[in-house]
Amino acid sequence: MINELLFMNGYGTYVLSAFGFTLLSFSSLYFITKLQFAKEQNKFVAKFGSLDSEKANSAKSQRINKEILADATNN
């Protein structure tokens, strides 16, 4: 049964390599994008940490900055 599924009347190599290439492309794009996101997020957290209290308070007044920090701590 499994052999039949993989053999696909002699077209198994073509079919599985097409699906394999697609899934490999998907996972590469996903992990590269995730890495880029984590890099920017870490850069933001580090920059935020180096601000003095006055600047940090001013930056924190923006909702989006709070969201980024909350998201970074959740991950």
């Binding site: 009347n9 998907f26 980024i68």
Partner: protein, 235 residues
């Protein structure tokens, strides 16, 4: 109306959405793969080689859809002087490019058992290759140019020229004699594909669309944080 498209408001949604979209994508992809590889019937002429259609066709559709969206967003960004349109377009481009490459590679893999060749310089395949070059040019332009106004102008120019190629891709199989078969699915007239093959094809298209949405959200969030990083530098 465009106030709704402000990054600050959008980030509240886009920062939480990827985990749900990822979950939905995995579920729909699992159903799609089961249908495409196991449950759907083989073709009377192409036998099991027809299963390549379930990754090839959705990839081609989505890459064309993304390029058209990028063009529309770039032109809108230019007309309404809204930076966010360019940001959305930029975030869509990488997944569009990857889908275009998948369509080309899986098409070559499909070509070998059905046409006896990996590649032919026929109108459909060549025009898809040209689309990949436009995607590449678009992405390279964002990397090369740093001044916002310049990159907005250049990327819009690339998409406006590139969009001419989209109807050529669509109608190439009707206008010229090509190795590539004509469209089996038509929204206006009756489709020539059987429902037992159409159903898995639509599920795989939904899965691929969810994947491009997932990548878009992650890229868009990255772009927003990049802007905020620049903002912290200015404090």
């Amino acid at each position: 109306m465009f106030k709704l498209l402000e990054p600050n408001k959008i980030f509240q949604i886009t920062s939480k959405a990827p985990r749900y979209v990822l979950f939905l994508f995995v579920v729909v992809l699992t159903v799609g793969l089961t249908e495409a590889l196991i449950l759907s019937p083989e073709d009377y002429k192409q036998s099991d080689a027809v299963r390549i259609m379930y990754v090839h066709v959705p990839s081609a559709w989505i890459s064309l859809g993304i390029f058209s969206s990028i063009t529309l967003l770039s032109i809108s960004g230019f007309i309404f002087k809204n930076k966010n349109f360019f940001l959305i377009a930029k975030s869509l481009a990488s997944s569009g490019f990857v889908f275009n490459i998948i369509a080309l590679v899986t098409g070559a893999i499909w070509g070998k058992p059905t046409w006896g060749t990996w590649w032919a310089w026929d109108a459909r395949i060549t025009s898809m290759l040209i689309l990949a070059l436009f995607f590449a040019l678009y992405l390279i332009a964002w990397r090369i140019y740093e001044k916002e106004e310049k990159v907005f102008k250049i990327t819009t120019f690339i998409t406006v020229i590139g969009i001419i190629n989209v109807p050529i891709i669509k109608y190439s199989v009707d206008w010229w004699n090509t190795l590539h078969q004509p469209a089996s699915i038509n929204l206006l007239t009756k489709s020539s594909i059987h429902s037992s093959m159409l159903f898995p094809l639509l599920i795989m298209t939904a899965a691929f669309a969810l994947f491009s949405l997932l990548i878009f959200l992650m890229k868009y969030n990255t772009e927003l944080i990049k802007i905020k990083n620049k903002g912290l530098d200015r404090l």
